[in-house]
């Protein structure tokens, strides 16, 4: 029974496809996958906008939206209607074609990236051997969209936003990919379902064998999260939008449906990169404890995804924004060395997997953790402790 529930969507699709003549099936199967992905994640987008506004509201001592429907739950509907009915304004000096194409270039690659993500046991649209590579390859397309939007708008603020956006996203692409490479090194596969499989099982019957419970996995996950925040232009790395500085950056000349598409694209990107983080480090759809393994796998995946989203909302409500040069320093001088050291630690971890003496696990943990901690403290000491930086004492005159 639970087995059927776990495979519910897989069976459902197989049944629907089976009802059609054989010639259609080749085309129908991917269409159903695409429809399901778009439907589910667009719905999640609507829910997340509400959750974000409510969550930010509570963080900021206010109620958040509560006028539309009970507790404001219909707010996304109202927002959507408003977006669709707004006038679509294109500046006279804008490059109309590029201006039109930019939002599409934003959403399409991200939707493509969903194809390789495993949302549950057997629940993956394309089990692609180089799935991880595909994800990063199409994910890089959003950078182009940001630049297209900024350039084609013919607005000085949007040009500044595009400049910031392209610099930031390309810089953070490097630590993002390199932190994932550590997983590939240990799991020995680029296919996302097999990376999830490599995290199956439990140590001593209770501790999940997720990568996040290893020293390199923990460091990798944190680095991945930071880079993912920057990749999805979320606070404290929301410089391309920079509400208080360059107003909305590349989005300044967009309105109506095109703006909604950008908004959608940003949130879809956030979900996709969170889902990738879950797949790589948090065991994908696996249950955290063995006695809850009967809960359908997609529910575990959804719960982890919502947890990540909550983390991002929390970050957004609490962090000030960095400056462009600080952002670049952080990426190239701090994250990049740390991510490279993490790669070495992952290799050490993998190389010492055969150690069998008593306390081998603890020794490996301490060793890897010590290397990472030393690198971290050396880097932060060298980079972030300038003379005169830090809390100050003040004198008083009577």
């Amino acid at each position: 029974m639970m087995e059927t529930l776990d495979q519910l969507f897989v069976l459902l699709k197989r049944w629907v496809v089976g009802e059609f003549p054989a010639a259609w099936r080749l085309w129908l199967s991917p269409l159903i996958d695409a429809g399901a992905i778009i439907g589910v994640f667009a719905g999640l987008f609507a829910v997340t906008t509400l959750l974000e506004r409510k969550g930010l509201g509570r963080l900021q001592n206010r109620m958040g939206p509560n006028r539309v429907g009970p507790f404001g739950v219909l707010q996304p509907l109202a927002d959507g209607l408003k977006m669709l009915t707004k006038e679509d304004i294109v500046p006279r000096a804008a490059d109309r074609v590029v201006h039109f194409l930019a939002p599409i270039a934003m959403v399409t690659p991200i939707l493509l990236a969903y194809a390789v993500l495993p949302f549950g046991r057997n629940l993956v649209a394309v089990d692609f051997d180089a799935g991880l590579l595909f994800f990063f390859a199409v994910g890089a397309g959003t950078e182009l969209a940001v630049f297209m939007a900024g350039w084609s708008s013919r607005n000085k603020y949007s040009l500044l936003g595009a400049m910031r956006g392209i610099a930031q996203m390309i810089s953070y692409e490097v630590p993002l990919v390199l932190s994932a490479v550590a997983v590939v090194l240990v799991a020995g596969s680029l296919s996302l379902p097999s990376i999830v499989d490599s995290q199956a099982g439990y140590h001593w019957g209770w501790l999940a064998r997720w990568h996040v419970f290893t020293p390199w996995g923990l460091a990798g996950f944190i680095l991945f999260l930071i880079a993912a925040t920057a990749e999805s232009n979320r606070s404290p790395f929301d410089l391309p939008e920079g509400e208080s500085e360059i107003i909305a950056g590349h989005l300044i000349e967009y309105s109506g449906f095109k703006y909604a598409l950008f908004f959608l694209g940003e949130y879809l990107g956030l979900f996709a990169v969170s889902a990738l983080g879950i797949t790589l480090f948090l065991g994908g759809w696996q249950a955290p404890v063995p006695f809850l393994a009967w809960v359908p796998s997609y529910l575990w995946f959804g719960a982890k995804l919502l947890g990540c989203i909550a983390l991002f909302i929390w970050l957004r409500g609490t962090m000030p924004r960095l400056r462009t040069d600080q952002l670049m320093n952080f990426a190239w001088k701090f994250m990049l060395p740390l991510v490279l050291v993490n790669l070495v630690v992952a290799a050490l971890w993998h190389g010492t997997a055969a150690w069998g003496f008593f306390g081998a696990g603890a020794t490996r943990w301490l060793l890897g953790g010590a290397v990472l901690w030393l690198t971290y403290s050396a880097l932060s000491h060298a980079l972030f402790t300038a003379p005169g930086r830090g809390p100050r004492t003040y004198r008083y005159a009577d």
Binding site: R164, S244, P320, R321, R323, T324, F384, A397
Partner: protein, 416 residues
Amino acid sequence: MRAQAGDLEMRGAFAAEPHGGGGRSAGSDAGWGAGAGHEWVRPAEPVGRLEGEWLEVAMGPHHPSTHGVFRMNVALEGERIRKLKPVFGYLHRNHEKIAEGTTYLGSMPYTDRLDYFCSLTNNWAYALAVETLAGLGVPERAEYLRVITGELTRLLNHACLVGFLLHDMGTMGTPLMYAFREREKILDLFEALTGARMMCNYLRFGGCRVDVPAGWLAGAQRVVDEFPRFLDEFENLLTTNEIVLARSQGVGVLSGALAVNAGITGPMLRASGVNYDLRKVDRYGIYDRFNFRVPLGEHGDVYDRYMVRILEMRESVKILAQALKDLPPGPILDPKSKLRGFRPRAGEAYGRIEAPKGELGFYLISDGSVRPYRYRVRPPSLINLTVLEELCLGHTVADAVIVLGSVDIVLGEVDR
């Protein structure tokens, strides 16, 4: 002042003036140095710097972080600010001329609108000027009420300013909403006392308009007692925040010498290490009776301006506690003061107080009639703004926004 077309308007596609190395004289800088008497005098750039094209951006008047309708014309090299020119006057309401056409008391409600965050201190400065002009005394109780409302205004202003500053740093308004929660409590007190939350119109020449209602003092005491807890919470979240430190330390440095030369006053001057607080210098009202200290900064950067305001709020809480304890009974209005037919003798007077933003002064000339012959405001916001270009040059757009935030302006007072 600048008649040439295309100062900072969009000229075709991103038309930025190309600046060839060394070929930049005041005359060739379109818009920046044009017109006699408005020449931009700036030390030459070091030779050998790579010159790119400069992007001229008009930040404002409808930019969310210019605290109203203020405009900064900036020339950017990448994101570095190479030139900055403040433009104001969008909110000019002819305040001073209108005041010359109405009675002395008629201007009192209008002073509320100068710095609309701090109507009570505006009232106080104006009342002080008129009292000096007419030689009116102020009863003891009214002096205490002025101190209490004035210091509550300072708490309100500084709390919100810090909130706005952090909002400019990109915190999505979280500290701002925390500050607004406290502001709300103080505004409730103002409403109970004066009938209005922001436009209080509370002071009269020679005293105050109404006495405190029943229970008001207890409510004020409660707000004052709780305020340090809010400050602790605020500081706990912000003062040692790594990003706040990185963004604000060493940014927008104002030297003490320049601050004095430019006539900067208020927390901004004290953040540069100059000990000048009119509450200590003039000891106007009854400030000599209170025990409080003046916090001084050392570096004069954005962080010092932030911290000086936080520490000033702590001192204000001390003053408030003393004033609420010592508040004597008695009349609140000088019996000699006349509300109607008020004609001070001919002469001139300047009244100034330490408003939350700096020295707020009113200069009045009376010709013996019911209307002032000349009425002039010395607005701290405007004069503190004059060094903005010095503070911003060489920093990025993001820094310019927080430097402007740390200056603490209200456009109602800048433009008058």
